[in-house]
Structures are given as C-alpha cells and as structure tokens.
C-alpha cells in the first residue's frame, strides 16, 4: 500500500516541475499580447446564415475591400493584414464557438461587425477577457452596460434610441393604441420600456407581447393582437419571424398600420411574406451618411448604388480598426481600444474618409478624425454611437421606398 504520509516528490520530479513552469509561458497560449510579427489579423464575425443572412455577405465584401486596399498600398505597420471571417449563423452558440476560434487559434486583434444582439452579448465577455476589441452593430442597450473595459464600440444606434423612433411614429400617426410584438431578445425589454415611456404620457396606450421566435406559427399570438385591436402594430422581430407574423396578421384581416425594424423588413422579407402581406408595412432605419464622401467612396468601391446601413458600418469598422492600430503603432486589441477615440472623436484632426488617406496622414505625423459612411463615428465612454439619424420606409408595390411619417 502506498504511504501517503511520506513525500513522493523526488529531485527528478522537482526539476521536471520547475522546467515546466519555466517553459509554460512559451508553450501555452498567451492572451492579451499584441501580434508582434507576421500578418496583422482582424476578423469579421458575421451573420452569413440565419436571420441576418441578408446582410452578412455584403458586410464581408466591405471588410475585404478595405483590407485589400490597404494591403495593395503596402499594408499596415509594414505588415500585411490578414482578414478572417466566421459565420455566427445569427445564433449566440455558433457565434461563441466562432469567436473562440478567432481569439484562441487565429489570435485576432479585432472582431468586427457582430450583428445580432444575442451574439454580441455572448461574445463580448470573450473579447474583454482576451483583450480583443469588438466593433459591433449589435444594438441592445444592455451590451454597452457590460463591464467591457472599453473593448467595445458600436456604430448602430442602441435600441432605446430606436424604440424612441417607433414611439415618435405612433404619436405622429395619432395612434390611440400601439401593440408592441417582439421576440425574446436582449433588447426586448429596453425597447418596450422606451416605447412606453414616450407613448403613455402622450395618451397612447401601449400593449406588449413577447413571443418565442423558434416556433413556426404565431397564430395564437396574432389572435391576442386582434383582440386588443390596436391601430398601430410594431413588429419587432428579425426577418424570418417577421415573415410569419406578417402573413398571420394579413390572414387575420388586421387593418391598422404596421411598422418594424428595417433589418426585418428587407427585400427578402417582401419575397418571403409575399406582396399582399408586405405591402404598406413601414420600417425604421438608421440612415447611412449618404451625403458623406465616405459613402460616395464606398459606392464606387462596392460598385453598388444602393448601400444599406450595415455595409456602411462594416466599412467603417474595418477603417477604424486599421487606423487605430496605425495610430498606436501596435497590433493588439488593447492598442485599438486605447486609440480608437483618438482617431474618431477628435474633431480637431484632419478629416479622412478611408484608411489609405488616414494612414498617410498618420505617417506624416498628423492627427486625424475618421468620418464614416454610416455617420460621424463618434463614440461615448461606454461605446455607444453619439449621433444618428433615422428614416422611415414603406413597402409599396413590393418595393421598399422612403416616406414621410
């Protein structure tokens, strides 16, 4: 029988242990260290499939376009940029797996254009724990309130701001009763609260119902809406569930106005729901900075006339990450975190609308201010975008057109 009272540690064991401790930092993965040599890696974690799949591929193309331009002009800090992309499937589980791979295996400095709030909420802790910067679209208010230590900025207006737009629409329509129908998401509560806080003092009754977006039919939920007989219905889902809701609302013969988020009311939504169900539905959309030079430049770069806000935001994310690294002179998430406001919030700097011009200005020792295609790209202390404008669209004859409220 083994004698546990007697030490079994021999000198050989002690030497082996010491050697292990000494070599561990070399062998084991490290975290928070910058990329000192080789290509500089930045990544897109995009909704290439799932509810956000209408937008992911274009966002990937915008990232690629920026990276290709910079690599074509000699790279960043004398090194090539390697752009990696992973599909988050608009799903937090898949998003977490993909982000873990990007952080642990690929050692990226930045994860860009995380689209869905559920994915953003799940992935952000991985980012701040591993000192990787997240440049996001994910709009839930709660994300910016996480203890992210500054490793988070977003170019999409947070949901409280968006909720206020829905309230303003209902008030402008002189609605007496607004019904907010939303799936369970990280931003559901904040949107509903934001809408209530603005509508109820103006005498607009607000009813709410949260549904399970994983179900295939929402007939019974629509029955609840019909019983309440609202004059405006806010459809707050993503594209797949918005399609089913819109069909069920049409079947139920609802006669009031319907409004949703622009990321749900897309051309694919019109195709999926059919023209009869989609026609007349309004949507609220954060407006890209269509008059900006960055927007004009992106149109040429993408060879597209019609740019949605997400392509613009993805373009801005890639430019911001690259310019922050250049400003820092170091490729790491911490370097991006510590320098992003120096190139985005600095109104006194030389205004640039792309990474190439910004890199030249920085190389010449100038301060810069990046003006984006999605907007001015100025961030609050907790990472929220500071200035955004919205527009209202409507489906008319199967096409989505801008209208006045």
């Amino acid at each position: 029988m083994r004698n546990f009272t007697k030490s079994t540690v021999t000198r050989r064991h002690a030497l082996l242990g010491a050697a292990t401790v000494l070599t561990a930092p070399v062998i084991l993965p490290t975290r928070g260290f910058g990329q000192a040599s080789g290509p500089i890696r930045i990544a897109g974690l995009l909704p290439l499939t799932g509810g956000g799949s209408s937008f992911g591929p274009n966002m990937r193309a915008a990232h690629h376009a920026v990276v290709d331009e910079v690599n074509g002009a000699g790279g960043l800090l004398g090194r090539k940029i390697e752009y990696l992309v992973e599909d988050d499937q608009t799903n937090p589980e898949a998003g977490t797996r993909a982000a873990t791979k990007l952080i642990d295996v690929d050692k990226v400095s930045a994860i860009m254009s995380v689209w869905a709030s559920s994915v953003g909420s799940a992935v952000l802790p991985l980012c701040w724990e591993n000192h990787v910067m997240m440049l996001a679209i994910a709009a839930a208010d709660s994300i910016a309130l996480l203890p992210h230590q500054g490793y988070f900025v977003r170019t999409q207006p947070h949901t409280e701001l968006q909720g206020a737009q829905f309230a303003a629409f209902a008030i402008a329509q002189k609605a007496k009763h607004l019904f907010v129908l939303m799936p369970q998401t990280p931003f559901t509560d904040s949107v509903m609260k934001g809408v209530k806080d603005l509508c109820e003092p103006k005498g607009v009754k607000v009813s709410t119902l949260v549904y399970d977006a994983k179900k295939t039919s929402f007939r019974s939920e629509i029955d609840e809406v019909m019983r309440a007989a609202p004059d405006v219905l806010m459809m707050g889902g993503y594209q797949p569930d918005d399609i089913v809701v819109a069909k069920d609302v049409f079947r139920a013969n609802y006669k009031g106005k319907i409004i949703g988020f622009a990321y749900g009311i897309t051309p694919q939504f019109v195709e999926g729901a059919g023209k009869e169900a989609a026609d007349g539905i309004y949507s609220i959309e954060p407006v890209p900075s269509a008059s900006s030079s960055a927007f004009a430049r992106l149109k040429k770069l993408m060879k597209k006339e019609d740019l949605d806000t997400y392509i613009c935001q993805a373009y801005d994310h890639a430019n911001l990450a690259i310019l922050s690294i250049a400003k820092a002179g170091e490729a790491s998430g911490t370097a991006i975190r510590d320098n992003i406001r120096k190139i985005s919030n600095n109104d006194a700097g030389m205004h640039v609308d792309n990474a190439l011009d910004g890199l030249k200005a920085l190389a010449a020792g100038k301060e810069i201010k990046y003006d984006g295609a999605s907007g001015p790209c100025k961030f609050s202390e907790i990472g929220n975008i500071l200035s955004v404008t919205f527009r209202i669209n409507q489906v008319q004859g199967g096409k989505i057109v801008e209208v006045k409220a």
Binding site: T49, S217, S220, E221, A252, F269, E271, G272, G274
Partner: protein, 287 residues
C-alpha cells in the same frame, strides 16, 4: 375566455395535425432501425424545397406538389442514410442519434448552398381567414390539416392491408423472426427510411406553406416533433399522431396561463413528464 379557449384549441389541433407527420416519420424510422434519426429535420426542409420547386418552376398546385415532396425527401433520406448512417449501424443508438444530428447539419447546409438562406414563398395567393362569430380559421390551416389526415390514412391503409406494409411491421416487431420468414431486412429498412423521411418531407412542406421556406424550416420544429414521438411512444405510429395533437394543443393552450416565450418549454416538459411517469409513451409497448 371561452372564445379564447376554443380558438386556442382549434389552433392547437391544426398545428398538431401537421406536427404529427414528421413525428410519424421519426417514429417509423425508430420502429425499424431503433434509433432517433434527427435528420428528419433536414429532410422536412428537403420536402419543402422540392414542393417549392414543383410549385414555382412547374406551376403545380400544392396538393400535387406534395407527392414531389414525399418522393424527394424519401429518396434523399435513403441516399443520405446509406452514405452517412448505414456504416455506423452496429454502433449504439446514441452514436447513431448524434451522427444523425451531424447528417442534419450537412443536409441543411447543402440546401443553403443550393438555395441560399433567404426565405422563399410558394406561388399561391395568401387567403384571409374565415370568421365564425368570434372564432376564425385559415383556409391554409384547414387544407394543411386535411392533407395531413389523408397522408395518415394512406399510411395506415398501407401498413395494415398490404403485404409490404405487414412485412415492415413484422420487421419492427421482431426483426429476427421476420428474417427467418424470408423478409429482407435491408429492403424493409430502406422502405422505412423512404416512408419516414418522405412523410417528414410532406410535414416540412405543410409547415412551409403556412410560414415560409428556408433551410431551417424543419429544425425549428424538431423539439416539438421529438416530444410528440416520445409522448406517443417511440415506434408507435398511432402514438405519433396522438402525440402530435397533444403537443400542438399543449403548446397553444399554454398561452392561457404562460407567456408565449415558454411555448418551446412545453416540448421539454412533455418529454420530462412522459419519461418519468411512462417511459414507453402513451401508446408505446413496454421495452
């Protein structure tokens, strides 16, 4: 409240009738192969896309495109099983079930590559609901339930009155005895797979007719489908029908006392209760 109760009951029965078809598919395959084949979800989507192609490209009405959904999902089901699961047939039921999840991902991904992720719609006019007093009923709901009932009836007649159907049931009851009677187990396995996946494909098309078509159309309902099969008794086709209706009803009636977000929990709850109190299910036989 009574109006609401009746409306939810109607919605539940209609949803349950459609849910019963993929549950029949799952349970038919289980009866012969003795593992839970989660790839029925992907084959529901195969059926939905096949029906969509026949409807949109060839102008076939939905009731006719149903046959295409059955044949396509059944044929793909036999083919994918041959490639992916048959080599693992000697493994445990758990291994096969896990492999079927992987197969499901492959099938869904293949559809995504072929058709993209954007939802699609059948080329049929969207009809307003019929109203009866305070209640309403959708023509599409009724059509779907009617198709589901016809499919179930045909399957019942096939299994009860044809020699092939009886042979299939014999393999399900006792494969060794069936083998000794000269029934080819491989042929019966392929038949069970073809019928099971084919019926699931019809279920997928019916779900898509009411909602929209995308590669995850089956995956979204797989928990309810599995719950229906377990509740009715895995391996029991009448059980799958009863299970489908009960789960459909339970999900809708839960709205009387629970928020809508708990609907998915009903499936889990049903599985938990039935496995605790009556593991063989409502109409299943003791192991």
């Amino acid at each position: 409240v009574l109006d609401k109760l009746i409306q939810l009951t109607v919605n539940g029965v209609m949803a349950g009738a459609v849910l019963a078809l993929p549950a029949i598919g799952l349970t038919t395959i289980f009866a012969v192969l003795r593992f839970v084949d989660f790839a029925v979800a992907g084959h529901m989507a195969v059926g939905a896309y096949a029906g969509y192609m026949l409807n949109n490209a060839f102008g076939m009405p939905p009731w006719a495109a149903i046959m295409g959904a059955f044949i396509a999902a059944g044929a793909v089901g036999i083919g994918t099983d041959h490639l992916a699961l048959k080599p693992l047939r000697r493994s445990t039921a758990l291994t096969l079930a896990i492999a079927s999840i992987a197969l499901n991902i492959v099938v869904e991904s293949a559809l995504r590559v072929a058709y993209g992720s954007a939802p699609r719609d059948f080329d049929i006019p969207l009809q307003r609901d019929w109203s009866f007093g305070g209640l309403h009923l959708g023509p599409q709901q009724v059509e779907n339930a009617a198709i589901a009932i016809v499919v179930m009836a045909v399957l019942f007649l096939f299994l009860t009155f044809t020699a092939t159907g009886k042979a299939m049931r014999a393999v399900a009851d006792n494969p060794i005895l069936a083998d000794s009677k000269g029934i080819d187990p491989d042929r019966m396995t392929r038949l069970a797979l073809g019928i099971g996946m084919g019926v699931a494909g019809i279920g997928g098309m019916l779900v898509a007719l009411d909602t929209a078509i995308d590669p995850a159309v089956g995956f979204r309902s797989i928990l309810s489908v599995f719950a229906a099969a377990v509740l009715g008794g895995l391996g029991s086709i009448p059980g799958a029908v009863v299970g489908g209706i009960v789960i459909g009803l339970a999900e809708e009636l839960s709205l009387l006392g629970l928020p809508s977000t708990y609907k998915s929990g009903i499936g889990f709850l049903a599985i938990l209760i039935i496995l605790t109190l009556r593991p063989r299910g409502l109409l299943g036989r003791p192991a």
